[in-house]
Symmetry: C3
Subunit: 267 residues, 3 copies
């Protein structure tokens, strides 16, 4: 492509001239991609992917050589890869937290997710898990929110959790949205962002660079970009949606074509 | 992975230490995968797949070398592969049943589905089709249920069909759910299992090892596992959902994390 | 496969014994397929695909060698490939129409889409864009309809646009349906074809060979086949739905199994 054309055609909104992992993080959920599909993903979209999460406990299901291949390829393309929080919860629930950390280390992971979407975790256990993982050399992501249907995001609790987790050593806090983006956290049963979101958005604003919103649906991605700008951190993006999400961030899709103008109008 | 870790991390519910095709059969619907995707599927998830159905009449559309490749790879990975029932119905409707069986044989299939989801099939024709296919060396799967919108599963009819089909030589009876899982069989227009299901479930219980439920949606898979345990036979699973389904069967996803406990509470 | 079996098993409705790009055009939307997936697509379904659209502005996101690979493979398999209309609108909006045409030429595209789904385009600018693209050697497709939620297809405006665009040199006019097929153009918020469609259908009938309907959902594909026959032109088909669509066109899926009969009954 003509280099002089790069700017206006590749990034019309002009907000994505950035380094990976600094602004506008995108986290992909991998629910069992095979070798060719995974290679396709990183070769085609590696520049637009910061994190790959191996969804829920799927890490346990892979033949060893396929898992090794994923970890190796992710590293090669500068992408952090880690098992979903449910895998941690499976281990914790059985009283095997240390063994879990050790196993992940041996497998080659250097990022880890601490969550309590399904189990109960005391503040003390949560803090200890973060600290211990960190002391073992992991980068730590935590997750806020329950996976049960109808669970709601509470802005005070979320704020408390963000503060406590970051203080304990976490790099990012994910807001639960599940793979479906429906009837959980900030989303209603149709996947729409709930009416009380503006309150959450305002209280979260100071921490926006440490918060990743699970937002599998396009309408959610667009609405979050409208709130926080095109570089809002987004997670649980399906592998075949990464080009759509990056198009939205750049104004290369109708839904965000005029986003700049809106921002200017608001300013 | 540490071998001592295998058990608690790989199968927390402890119900999947089984041989393929004996318990907890999973049938995938293939709607046109190409060579790389198909190889990805069997390499990554071959241990968790028992049957691959080439959906509806898609068998007719493949270039010969791609079809041969599928059949060969499935055999190599110990997976039964067969054309969807609609393909049989196309042939039967044109009075070419024998020719159909012969063609499938020559193509290398050794499993076959007999159904009447679209056409009318008398009890006698159904019985004969099963017997004839069996005498030609095919393993036979049959299907119960109409594909028309709003079709309903009748427990007495289903029971009669299961008995008749198994007696005629069928190995399994599939309960129709289509690719969509909506507004057909035991599912309402939103894909929820209908209110009269408990009656069906109770009457089917004695035959549960011979029944495969088409259940493309996660909520359906979970509800059927809640009814019949994690080793219930499930069909019409999309290729990219196989790791999710196997995670559910093992308690590696939030929705079935505490399934064991529920069972124990009920016992 | 037995050659004598070809006809009844491969094309039971008997309407697909046709040359590509003459009848029953199918346009795929590619939202970021990698090299292996793209090769799978054309190898497996190349005979059933006429056009591949690189959705919205995704053309800008590909590493150069992947884009070159797509363009080369499409040509090898006799498939027209072109960037989505939004990419044109991005360029036009910045006053760089000529540069856009020139860039696409250099990239190896020889088909182009002119649309105003997001921006405003005067009749004169629309006409000029078509003419200019054509004079540069492009085959031109245009699109009618706005992408905004709740936009409606107006039959008089559509008819006017078809006439004007074809006269200016366009080969086909696409009717907007977006990737979702919901709450846009002829579709309501659930993706059902709206009540006023019969009026549109009747007025469009004389131009039916130049019109492509974006119809991502199966119910939409079936309903349009019921209106216009199995060779109606369809667009925005997801890559993994191409075998389903071709099955529908041939009567190899339940939904169109008896389509011939219906037509005969209407005759």
């Amino acid at each position: 492509m003509h280099s002089e054309l790069n700017d206006f055609l590749r990034d019309p909104l002009g907000k994505r001239n950035i380094h990976k992992k600094e602004q506008g993080i995108t986290m992909i959920i991998d629910k069992g991609l095979g070798n060719h599909s995974f290679l396709d993903l990183v070769e085609t979209a590696g520049n637009y992917i910061d994190f790959i999460k191996l969804g829920f406990g799927t890490t346990a299901l892979y033949p060893e050589h396929i898992l090794e291949n994923k970890i190796g390829l992710a590293k090669k393309f500068g992408i952090d890869i880690y098992p979903g929080g449910t895998f941690f919860e499976v281990a914790f629930h059985q009283g095997k937290r240390e063994l879990y950390f050790e196993t992940l280390k041996q497998m080659g992971f250097n990022k880890i997710e601490i969550s309590d979407g399904t189990i109960e975790l005391t503040n003390r256990d949560r803090q200890r898990s973060i600290q211990q993982a960190k002391s073992l050399g992991f980068t730590v992501i935590t997750e806020y929110g329950k996976k049960a249907e109808g669970s709601v995001t509470d802005s005070e609790q979320l704020l408390y959790t963000i503060n406590a987790d970051l203080e304990a050593g976490a790099s990012f806090v994910i807001v639960e949205g599940r793979e479906s983006g429906e009837n959980v956290g900030i989303y209603d049963s149709e996947g729409k962002i709930q009416d009380h979101f503006p309150m959450i958005a305002r209280s979260i604003q100071p921490y926006i660079n440490q918060v990743i919103w699970e937002a599998p649906k396009k309408s959610q991605q667009v609405e979050l970009m409208n709130w926080f700008g095109p570089n809002v951190h987004l997670g649980n993006i399906a592998p075949d949606e990464i080009y759509s999400v990056e198009s939205l961030r750049r104004g290369l899709r109708s839904d965000t074509f005029f986003m700049n103008k809106k921002e200017e109008a608001n300013a």
